[in-house]
C-alpha cells in the first residue's frame, strides 16, 4: 500500500486555486462568443442563418448573444466567417430571474457546506463528464465545502443537465419533490437552458424551466468545470453572477 501513498505524494498538488486566485492554464475553457460590433451591417441575414440554434441576434449595430442557446459549434467564429469576437472566460453562471435575488441565496449556513445531487435528464455525457471532473484532483470541490450526495433527501442543490427527456420527467419531479427545503436548482448546459440541439420535441421538454423552477443557469456546451464551480459559488453568494450587473451577494441579507 505504501507505494500508492508515495506515488500520490510525488504527484504533488494539481488543484486549481480558483476562486482565490485566477486560473490561467491553457485549455480550461472553450470560451464563447461575446457581444460584438457588427462589421458589416448587411450581414444580418447571414449571421442569423449561421447560428444553428439562433443564439446570435443582430440588433442595431451590435450582435447580441443569447448564451442560453449557444452550443459552442464555432461556426460563427472560424476561418472565413469570423463574424463574432470570442472571449476566453468561464465565469458564465447567472441567476435565472435577476429580480428575485434576495431569496435566491441559500444563506450562510450553506455557503461553506453544500450537498449536491446531480441529475441526468437526458444529457449527452459531455456535461456529465465536466461535472465528474469537479470531484477530481484538478478541481476538487471538496476544498470549497461542496459535496456530491447520492440521495436527494440529503441534497440542498439539484444540478440538472440535459434537455429533460420525456422518460426522465417523472424521476426529475420526484427527485425535486424529495428534497427538503431550502432547495435550489442549477441548470447546467445549453440543453437544460433551451433544449440545445434536441430542443423541445416530441420526447424532450427542452428547457428545464418548463418542468421545475430554476435558480442558477450555467450556459455552455458543455460548460467547463470552472464554470460549474462559478455557478455553485454564485448560488452560495460567494461570487457575483455574470452579466447581471447586480451587486454581489456578500452584502445582502441571507434568507432561506
Amino acid at each position: 500500500m505504501s507505494k500508492w501513498v508515495l506515488l500520490g505524494i510525488r504527484s504533488g498538488t494539481k488543484t486549481t486555486r480558483y476562486p482565490s486566485h485566477t486560473e490561467s492554464a491553457a485549455g480550461i475553457s472553450p470560451g464563447r462568443p461575446k457581444d460584438t460590433l457588427m462589421a458589416d451591417k448587411n450581414a444580418q441575414a447571414l449571421i442569423r442563418d449561421l447560428c444553428p440554434t439562433g443564439a446570435l441576434n443582430p440588433k442595431n449595430d451590435r450582435i447580441a448573444v443569447d448564451y442560453r442557446r449557444c452550443i459552442s459549434c464555432r461556426r460563427c467564429a472560424r476561418g472565413a466567417s469570423t463574424l463574432v469576437d470570442w472571449e476566453e472566460s468561464w465565469e458564465w453562471a447567472s441567476l435565472s430571474a435577476p429580480d428575485l435575488n434576495a431569496s435566491s441565496a441559500l444563506g450562510s449556513p450553506f455557503s461553506q457546506s453544500l450537498h449536491i445531487r446531480v441529475l441526468d435528464a437526458g444529457a449527452c455525457r459531455a456535461c456529465l463528464s465536466e461535472i465528474e471532473q469537479l470531484g477530481k484532483p484538478y478541481y476538487n470541490i471538496h476544498r470549497l465545502g461542496f459535496f456530491m450526495t447520492p440521495t436527494p433527501r440529503h441534497a440542498d442543490v439539484l444540478l440538472v443537465a440535459g434537455p429533460v427527456a420525456d422518460n426522465m420527467r417523472l424521476p426529475l419531479e420526484k427527485a425535486y419533490d424529495a428534497m427538503p427545503t431550502p432547495k435550489r436548482v442549477v441548470a447546467v448546459g445549453a440543453c437544460a437552458l433551451s433544449g440545445g440541439v434536441f430542443g423541445p420535441s416530441f420526447t424532450s421538454y427542452g428547457s428545464l424551466k418548463n418542468v421545475i423552477p430554476v435558480d442558477v443557469e450555467i450556459p455552455g456546451c458543455p460548460p467547463p468545470p470552472l464554470a460549474i464551480i462559478h455557478g455553485l459559488l454564485v448560488l452560495t453568494g460567494r461570487r457575483p453572477p455574470a452579466e447581471s450587473g447586480a451587486t454581489s451577494f456578500l452584502d445582502r441579507r441571507s434568507g432561506t
Partner: protein, 535 residues
C-alpha cells in the same frame, strides 16, 4: 500487424455459397462499387440467409434499418466481417399493410434489441420474438403510437400521459421469497440515468435486467427533413464523450454519397483527433474502474491524466470534447507545427505516466482481487450477442473496425494492433483498455510528426441524393451511421447504431450470479454510456 493467418473468404466464396444454398438468388445479388454486397431477398429466405451469414460465415451483425416508404416497408439488415466482401446488405420489402415480419433473433441473437426498437418505434411486430414491447417507449405511451412513422409530428410534445396500470417489471427468477431490487434511474453520485432490476433470493444477485431509453431524445426522428449541417450537430452531440467518432462516421457516410474524399492532411488530422479522443476516453474509463474499486490514488492519477487530455484537446481544437471539428469534406481547423510538437511531447509524457500506473495496478493484489473473475462474458456469448469494442476484445473477439474495415489512413498508412484478451472478466477488459490507450498514444506521436501538408478540407461541394453507410471504430466499439439524403439535400433517413446499444444488450451476461457489492465494478469495467445507447 493484424495479418490473419486464416485466409480471408473471397467474393467467390460468398457468391458460391449463396448460389448453392438458394438457387435463383444469384439474380438478386450484386456487388456494389465500394465492395459491399447487396442481396435482395423475400420473407421466406430472410431468416435462413441471415443465420447462414451470421453463424456459418462469421459475419457480425451491424444494424437493422427500417424505412417508411409510401407503399412499402423497407428492411435492410447489414452484416460485416473480415472477408473480401466486408459489408453485406440484406434487403427486404413488404407492403405497408403487412406489419408482421419474421424475427431472426433466434439465430442471430444480436438482432434482438434492434427488432424490439423497430417494434416500438415503427409498430412492426416480429413473429417469433418472445419479448416485444416496453423498450424505447415506456409505460406511458399508448399502444399504436409509433414515433418513427412518417405521419407522426416530431416537433410538438406528445401529450399522451396514459400510464398503463397493469405494467409490472418482467420477473425471471422463480423461487420462494425471490424479490427484485430496483436501482435508478436516479442513483449513485454521477451515474447516467438508467434503471436496473436485480433479482435475488437474498444473497447473490441471480439476474440483472437493465431498462434503458430513459434518455431517449429521438435523434433519428429529429433528423428527418433537416439539412446535413443540422444533422451533423445531432450526430456529434447525442454522445458527447465520443462526439468526434460519431461525427466522423456521419461525415464519411455523407462523403460517400457525394463521392468525396478529404485531402490527405485532413484525413490524417481526423485520425489524430480520433485517437486523441480514444485515449482520453480510455483514460476516463480506467479512472472509473479504479474509482469503482475505491483505489483512491489510482483514480486520482488517472483523473489527472484525463483532465490533461481534455485541456490538450481544447488547445488543439478549441473545444475540450472536440465538438465542431468534423465536417463533410474534412475538418474545420488546422494545426501548426508547434502545436503538433507540443501534442507529441504531452502525449508521450501522458503515455509514460499511464504505463507506470498500469505497472503499479498489475502488482496491486487487493485491486486485482476485485476485478478478476468478476463480470465474465464468455466468447460464445459475446459472439452471439454481437458485442463490440473493448468489451468484445476482452472476451476473445478480435474485431476492430480499423483492421477489419479500414478507413482513411488505416488502410495503408497506419497499422493497428488489435488488443485481444480471452478471459472475458473485468481484468481482461482493463488490460484491453490500457493496451489500446498505449496504441493510440503511439499513433498520435507518430502522426503528429508526419503530417502531410495541404488543405484540411475539400472545397465546397454539392450534396447529391443517395444513401450510404459510414462506420468508425469509436472508443466504445463499432459505430454505424446510415444516411439517406433526398432530392432537396435534406436527410431522409438517419439511422445510428452506437456500440453501447450492442453492448448494453450483453450487460446482463456479466451481471449474473454475483455479489451485490460487485455491481459498480461490473458497470465500470463495461464502461458503457447510456447517452450513446439511447440517442
Amino acid at each position: 500487424m493484424n495479418q490473419s493467418h486464416i485466409a480471408r473468404p473471397t467474393r467467390k466464396d460468398l457468391m458460391d455459397g449463396i448460389c448453392s444454398r438458394w438457387p435463383g438468388m444469384e439474380a438478386n445479388t450484386r456487388i456494389e462499387e465500394d465492395g459491399s454486397a447487396l442481396i435482395t431477398c423475400d420473407i421466406a429466405t430472410l431468416r435462413e440467409l441471415c443465420e447462414w451469414l451470421f453463424c456459418e460465415n462469421n459475419y457480425a451483425f451491424a444494424t437493422l434499418i427500417v424505412e417508411d416508404e409510401e407503399a412499402d416497408w423497407l428492411f435492410r439488415y447489414i452484416f460485416y466481417g473480415d472477408a473480401e466482401v466486408g459489408v453485406v446488405h440484406v434487403c427486404m420489402k413488404q407492403p405497408k399493410s403487412n406489419t408482421v415480419a419474421p424475427s431472426i433473433s433466434a439465430g442471430v441473437h444480436a438482432a434482438d434489441w434492434h427488432e424490439r426498437e423497430v417494434e416500438d418505434l415503427f409498430g412492426i411486430s416480429f413473429e417469433g420474438h418472445p419479448r416485444l414491447g416496453d423498450f424505447v417507449l415506456h409505460e406511458e405511451w399508448p399502444e399504436g403510437v409509433n414515433p418513427m412513422k412518417k405521419d407522426f409530428d416530431a416537433s410538438k410534445p406528445y401529450m399522451h400521459r396514459q400510464v398503463d396500470p397493469e405494467w409490472r417489471p418482467l420477473r425471471i427468477l422463480e423461487a420462494q421469497g425471490a424479490f427484485m431490487m430496483p436501482i435508478g434511474p436516479v442513483y449513485s453520485d454521477y451515474a447516467e440515468a438508467c434503471q436496473f432490476f436485480l433479482e435475488t433470493v437474498g444473497e447473490d444477485v441471480v439476474r440483472t435486467t437493465p431498462r434503458i431509453f430513459y434518455k431517449f431524445r429521438g435523434v433519428e426522428k429529429l433528423a428527418e427533413n433537416q439539412p446535413v449541417e443540422r444533422v451533423l450537430l445531432m450526430a456529434e452531440r447525442f454522445s458527447g464523450a465520443s462526439a468526434f467518432a460519431h461525427s466522423l462516421a456521419f461525415c464519411r457516410a455523407v462523403e460517400k454519397i457525394s463521392g468525396l474524399e478529404p485531402p490527405p492532411r485532413g484525413q490524417v488530422l481526423r485520425v489524430l483527433f480520433a485517437e486523441l479522443e480514444r485515449l482520453r476516453h480510455h483514460v476516463g474509463a480506467i479512472a472509473g474502474i479504479c474509482g469503482s474499486t475505491a483505489l483512491a490514488v489510482a483514480t486520482s492519477q488517472a483523473s489527472i491524466l484525463e483532465e490533461e487530455l481534455l485541456r490538450l484537446s481544447c488547445i488543439m481544437s478549441g473545444h475540450r470534447y472536440l465538438f465542431g471539428v468534423n465536417r463533410p469534406g474534412g475538418i474545420s481547423i488546422d494545426v501548426t507545427s508547434d502545436q503538433c510538437k507540443m501534442l507529441g511531447d504531452s502525449v508521450r509524457s501522458i503515455a509514460s505516466d499511464l504505463k507506470n500506473l498500469f505497472d503499479m495496478l498489475r502488482l496491486s493484489s487487493s485491486f486485482l482481487d476485485r476485478i478478476e473473475e468478476v463480470g465474465i462474458v464468455s466468447t460464445e456469448n459475446a459472439l452471439s450477442y454481437g458485442l463490440v469494442g473493448p468489451v468484445a476484445r476482452g472476451s476473445g473477439i478480435a474485431r476492430d473496425l480499423r483492421n477489419i474495415l479500414p478507413y482513411g489512413p488505416y488502410k495503408s498508412q497506419i497499422a493497428c494492433q488489435t488488443a485481444l484478451e480471452t478471459e472475458g472478466d473485468g481484468y481482461a477488459r482493463l488490460r484491453v483498455l490500457f493496451r489500446e490507450a498505449e496504441e493510440s498514444a503511439n499513433i498520435i506521436c507518430r502522426l503528429s510528426s508526419e503530417l502531410p501538408p495541404g488543405d484540411v478540407a475539400s472545397p465546397e461541394f454539392r450534396l447529391k441524393a443517395g444513401q450510404a453507410l459510414g462506420w468508425v471504430e469509436a472508443p466504445l466499439g463499432a459505430a454505424f451511421h446510415w444516411v439517406s439524403i433526398g432530392e432537396e439535400g435534406a436527410v431522409k433517413r438517419y439511422r445510428v447504431t452506437p456500440p453501447s446499444f450492442m453492448n448494453w444488450h450483453g450487460f446482463h451476461l456479466a451481471a449474473e450470479n454475483f455479489a451485490f457489492q460487485d455491481f459498480p465494478i461490473v458497470m465500470a469495467t463495461f464502461g458503457l454510456s447510456n447517452a450513446e445507447c439511447d440517442r
